[in-house]
């Protein structure tokens, strides 16, 4: 892969996994993955539900012991020097792990004590962080009264109390409405831009990975199947996708005609998809060929390669339309 930021080349590596694996009894959740993330990157870990994303992030954040391989965070081993790792990472886990009976303020102060931040320092930092995520007004309300978006933002603020250089976000925008999602993305970008925070995020949303991450790894069934910058990954798929809807009677004819224009791609029922060699310039040619073959086209579209195409290319399945 020819990404602009190659793992291991240039910049110092702060997250490094070597043949990392985890099994639960017979079930292999993570099947030996290699990763390296350089300082200042926003790294997206993309995959469907149950692909092993959460298991991986739990191992990287010392919450789960690997059953194979190793991982180092800023040169500290996640097993041998777990405490040192915990000191330099911030973590916001799935399902907003916060106590609904406490207020935002109380949780912030508890978090500060847990990280051994002096009281005077905490007094300054907590309101600052709450303001940053827009929760100043709600700081003394119980978390149970917060909306999903507010909980996520509080979760983020909690992860930042000790000013970590590396931030882990597990499915940061799962279950959020579009507005809250945009606000959260903006905050993550700002952290990365202004403080140089390295961000490792897992997601099952293509858009999230595309928008936020400068580099992406795609995980499927516990194994990494692709890795690189979004642009580079899309470039590997090459040509744009042409989708043609026709009446079932003309299905085989259409396939035959289109076979001359590029390789077949996975598509839904009643539709023929190909990677169109030569791109948009050849659309007119395709239409003419179909017309010559006597195929009435009901719908035709041309899409630039997406991460979904990358995923489909790697796994033969589509991520889009998978459940929430």
């Amino acid at each position: 892969m020819s990404g602009s930021i190659e793992p291991g080349s240039g910049g110092d590596v702060v997250i490094e996994a070597t043949d990392l694996a985890r099994t639960f009894g017979e079930v292999v959740a993570v099947d030996g993955i290699d990763l390296s993330v350089t300082r200042g990157e926003v790294f997206g870990f993309l995959g469907p539900n149950g692909a092993g994303k959460s298991t991986t992030i739990r191992m990287l954040t010392t919450l789960l012991r690997p059953t194979g391989g190793s991982a180092r965070i800023d040169d500290h081993d996640v097993v041998g020097s777990a405490a040192a790792v915990r000191r330099i990472i911030g973590v916001a886990l799935q399902d907003s792990s916060i106590d609904p009976l406490m207020t935002g303020n109380e949780l912030m102060r508890l978090q500060a004590v847990l990280h051994g931040i002096p009281r005077s320092e905490a007094r300054r930092r907590c309101p600052e962080l709450l303001a940053r995520v827009g929760l100043t007004g709600a700081a003394d309300r119980r978390v149970a009264t917060y909306s999903g978006g507010m909980r996520r933002r509080l979760d983020l603020a909690l992860s930042l109390v000790h000013e970590p250089g590396i931030l882990f976000l597990d499915e940061p925008s799962a279950g959020l409405d579009p507005t809250s999602r945009l606000a959260l993305w903006e905050e993550v970008r700002r952290l990365n831009r202004e403080l140089g925070t390295t961000v490792f995020l897992t997601t099952q949303y293509l858009e999230e990975a595309d928008e936020l991450a400068s580099r992406i790894a795609i995980i499927d069934r516990g194994r990494l199947v692709r890795e690189g910058s979004p642009e580079a990954l899309k470039a590997t798929v090459g040509s744009p996708t042409l989708r043609v809807d026709v009446d079932p009677v003309f299905f085989e004819t259409t396939r035959r005609v289109l076979a001359d224009f590029g390789p077949d791609r996975p598509a839904r029922e009643g539709r023929v998809s190909i990677g169109l060699d030569g791109g948009a310039a050849r659309v007119a040619e395709v239409v003419r060929a179909l017309d010559d073959a006597g195929v009435p086209v009901t719908h035709l579209e041309l899409d630039a390669p997406s991460l979904d195409d990358v995923f489909a290319d790697a796994t033969g399945r589509r991520l889009e339309g998978a459940d929430e």
Binding site: T61, T62, L63, L64, R65, A82, A83, A84, R86, R87, I88, I89, V91, L93, Q94, D95, S96, S97, I98, D99, P100, L101, M102, E106, R109, L110, Q111, V113, L114, H115, G116, I117, P118, E121, R142, L158, H162, E163, P164, G165
Partner: protein, 266 residues
């Protein structure tokens, strides 16, 4: 990454600070939702009222040792309540584990033992509420303070100790199984351990296997220690076995809990 944060995650100050914060969090939860304390308060009150009401005529049996049944039952109800409250403290951790909040606590740099100590302290502190309730009802029922005000102190020491011990037992199980359901097991264990002791009648009333079990049950010593001031004067002979029993049970349950906490990240 600020250097100051590193410096403060080691040492006794940090350990105490975290334990205190965890304990404070528990008390704050009670303030936020007072109904949380209701079962813990009601259970021993029901016990003291039911057992004194139903078994009031025990005092007429030769050798019971007191003419007011409250003098015997109050301590039993208070300790049973403390066991219940202690396991309840561990249940709060089960809840944290189930909803993911515990992950946040586990991400604390430095030792995780203060999390355990804080939860235990919270359980012990919280147990004073049902203990006070039971003592209040018992005084209304004519509890005699034969041993002076110190008699009350022994009850508070014993209940706080038992709450701590059963919180630790509960934590060991919660850390292992990570579910709220497993707490039922520990409640049954707690109730049974109390029943298999001199809770309701003196040891010489018992026969057969029950006599043998109550004889070696460390809780018998704790009951004797906490009850002495209502039956007569406080004596060292009645005191030290109770304290040793509490210490021993804490040591065993604490070791178990720490061991399971260490395994938690596996």
């Amino acid at each position: 990454m600020s250097a100051s944060a590193v410096a403060h995650t080691e040492g006794l100050g940090h350990v105490g600070g975290v334990a205190l914060a965890i304990c404070g969090r528990g008390m704050r939860r009670i303030r936020a939702r007072p109904t949380l304390i209701m079962p813990v308060l009601l259970m021993p009150l029901i016990f003291v009222i039911s057992f004194t009401g139903a078994f009031g005529s025990l005092t007429r049996v030769e050798g019971y040792g007191t003419d007011n049944v409250f003098n015997w039952m109050a301590v039993y109800a208070a300790l049973q309540g403390a066991v219940f409250a202690g396991v309840g403290g561990a249940s709060a951790t089960a809840e944290d584990l189930e909803n993911g909040f515990f992950d946040r606590l586990l991400l604390t740099p430095g030792s995780r033992v203060p999390i355990l100590v804080g939860t235990m302290a919270y359980s012990a502190l919280r147990s004073t509420i049902p203990t006070t309730g039971v003592l209040f009802v018992s005084v209304l029922g004519g509890l005699s303070l034969a041993g002076g005000p110190l008699a009350l102190l022994t009850v508070y020491v014993a209940t706080a100790g038992m709450a701590a011990v059963f919180c630790l037992v509960g934590l060991a199980v919660v850390y292992r199984f990570r579910t709220m359901r497993s707490m039922i097991l520990i409640q049954v264990f707690g109730f049974s351990s109390m029943f298999l002791s001199t809770g309701q009648v003196p040891i010489h009333f018992m026969n057969g296997w029950l006599h043998a079990v109550a004889r070696v049950n460390p809780i018998t010593n704790v009951l004797r220690f906490a009850r002495q001031g209502f039956l007569g004067d406080l004596t060292w002979a009645m005191t030290w076995p109770g304290l040793v029993a509490l210490g021993g049970m804490s040591l065993v349950s604490g070791t178990l809990a720490v061991w399971q906490l260490r395994r938690l990240a596996a």
